[in-house]
Symmetry: C2
Subunit: 393 residues, 2 copies
């Protein structure tokens, strides 16, 4: 605000002809840049870096190889401002950083910053298509950062709970279904609501009538973590990890579902519970979902590495972990929706497709979806929207 006020004051003095040449130069140097600037046909990035010798922009649509670094080279102009204009890319939510003499930086002109694991990136939403699903909807649901006692690992942990627009704490008669939504490796309880755009996707789908109003519960699935490391909470290192990450998801039926059902106006049987996750969370969904067939009515597994390995690597023995999954499918074949997806450029795709074939061969009705993309958020946002449209109907 102070900067804007200064700018307007300087602009007024400029018009009044009361500034010296030096003052005008100072004013030009301090004028805030517009970056990124989106027009109907172009997108332009700008960074003021008069002392730098090599400045590049790395937008996510270019990818991350040496060719992308070359394509992102910016040109130095007046007042030390570096500029690069691209054709306007397809409607999407993109991330980008600048590289200034080899060091990655955010765009100081852009307040829209997103975190992916330990990295922070500037973001830009190109609207007019798919990206519209990721924009704030005027009918927005709430997001709660909830601490709950998790008896399974024995610690207070944080999860995020989305309640849809119109959810009324006081209206105990209106009951909502719940989607339990799990993050991937390197993620945490914050991931789905930031780069995953869960709140915006659900708000928009519900407002358009494409999904039913539902709660979305986003726990932290890292066995030793109480909460996202952005909170600087020391990890609980003495948590027994057992044989794998998936053991941790004993916590879901034991701690999380009971907490949600005690504290929210939700449907308390399997018809009102769905489970989905990406990557590690997709494996947790497969493992936990099939082992608790009486708890969840729909399962969504996005880009699962577990399924990816099942078909092509074979390190996980599904029949051993879920006895009868293939030999006695009637025991498990009770789901309304079994949804499996993977990006076309994700190396996990073959294994996931193999599992789809194996399940279908045993009579399971599996929805299989793929779309362009690797092991990345643009795929998982599409998966979430697609899965949310199908469940609780």
């Amino acid at each position: 605000m102070k900067r804007l006020t200064t700018l307007f004051a300087a602009a007024a003095l400029l018009v009044a002809g009361r500034l010296s040449a030096q003052e005008i130069q100072n004013f030009q140097r301090s004028a805030p840049l517009v970056s990124p600037e989106l027009t109907a046909t172009t997108i332009t990035f700008r960074l003021r870096a008069p002392q730098a010798t090599d400045v590049r922009v790395q937008p996510s649509w270019l990818g991350y190889g040496p060719e992308a670094a070359e394509a992102g080279k910016m040109t130095k102009g007046e007042n030390g401002v570096w500029t690069k204009t691209f054709d306007r890319p397809a409607s999407e939510l993109y991330t980008y950083t600048f590289s200034v003499d080899g060091v990655s930086t955010l765009d100081p002109a852009n307040i829209f910053v997103q975190r992916d694991g330990t990295r922070f990136m500037s973001a830009v939403l190109v609207d007019g298509g798919l990206g519209d699903l990721y924009k704030e909807c005027d009918q927005a649901g709430n997001l709660e950062h909830v601490w709950y006692w998790s008896g399974t690992p024995g610690m207070n942990r944080r999860m995020y709970v989305y309640t849809p627009y119109g959810y009324d704490k006081n209206d105990k008669d209106k009951k909502y279904p719940v989607l339990y939504l799990l993050h991937g490796g390197g993620g945490d309880e914050d991931a789905w609501s930031t780069l995953g755009r869960t709140c915006q996707i659900l708000d928009n789908l519900i407002a358009r009538g494409e999904a039913v109003p539902m709660l979305v519960v986003m726990p932290n699935g890292n066995p030793t973590q109480r909460a996202a490391q952005t909170l600087m909470v020391p990890e609980k290192r003495d948590v027994p990890r057992g044989s794998s990450n998936f053991d941790n998801y004993a916590s879901l039926p034991a701690d999380i579902v009971p907490y949600i059902e005690a504290n929210y106006n939700v449907i308390k049987d399997r018809s009102g519970r769905a489970l989905a996750g990406l990557s590690m969370g997709g494996g947790q969904t497969f493992y936990t979902g099939f082992r608790h067939v009486d708890m969840f009515s729909s399962l969504g597994m996005f880009s699962s590495g577990l399924l990816g390995s099942l078909g092509s690597i074979g390190s996980f023995d599904a029949e051993k972990e879920m006895p009868g999954i293939y030999s006695n499918p009637a025991k498990y074949n009770k789901f309304d929706v079994i949804y499996i997806s993977c990006g076309e450029q994700d190396e996990r795709i073959k294994g996931n497709k193999d599992v789809v074939d194996q399940l279908r061969a045993k009579g399971y009705d599996v929805v299989w979806e793929s779309c362009p993309g690797g092991h990345e958020w643009r795929v998982w946002r599409i998966n979430l929207a697609s899965f949310a449209r199908k469940i609780f109907k």
Copy 2:
């Protein structure tokens, strides 16, 4: 995680003597840095920037002038890693950025990032004193991002609601008091819970028995904003602004207090309502609090510019806006706590002290506090903790 795994694998190979010189060099280049590194007597910052010619660190305890820039100069060492070690500063929450050839960047080795208005900064908590109040407490309250209909400006708006550890939605018999807490100019509903450390301060004070369990409600006080601009929500530009910012706070008694009292287990009379704010929010507190003496029982005004101008500039006519505040103090002198504070290096201090004198001369019991610091968060965190200790007792 992938990076850590790679590192451990490389370390194992190093120990086993299986890496070539080139491979060792690659490993050293990619090894993650520790920054900041805190010891009992020092703090060290590190940044890898082999191509850069001038790298500085700007920690908040140095201030922001040319001397600070000089004091922050880093030294280039092996592998292009720049380093700077300082004596360990007093226990506090500090922010810092790096300057790489004149461009400001975050510390890529540090996941603890905080926003102040439009700026993002790396942060470091130096514990062992005051800073301990700003650390996560194991008994943590929840934080809700709540959208509510604000009839006054006519739009859905977002506010944050903190509920203390142990707050139970289902226990309607247990009623909590509520602190309404307002941000300053350039801030928004997100400000108090990030750099303001509201959740951690309340969690720690309540756990220590120094404050009573209370809710804290943090609305957005910018008249045209629906929510923090990090959400990329278009501002509602047609909102009538009236004569000043303070008109907007018609929204507090008309929209916000009724919403909270309809949706939370709270005390519904003035004994259970306090109002406080920093800078612009301090002015809003003074204006709204005195005009609604039957609504709030305690007021906290931190570094208020309005009060700052009252005494020394005199642009705001308190007697005109609140008829009788000085001529008929019995009408207003019903508060349990009137708390006014300002940093010792804040230019607003004289005006604030003058108002304290004027109010005291009319018989108001005013708590006046000051501490080292300018117009900045380290002062307001101390003010919040101090005010929270005094209210609802």
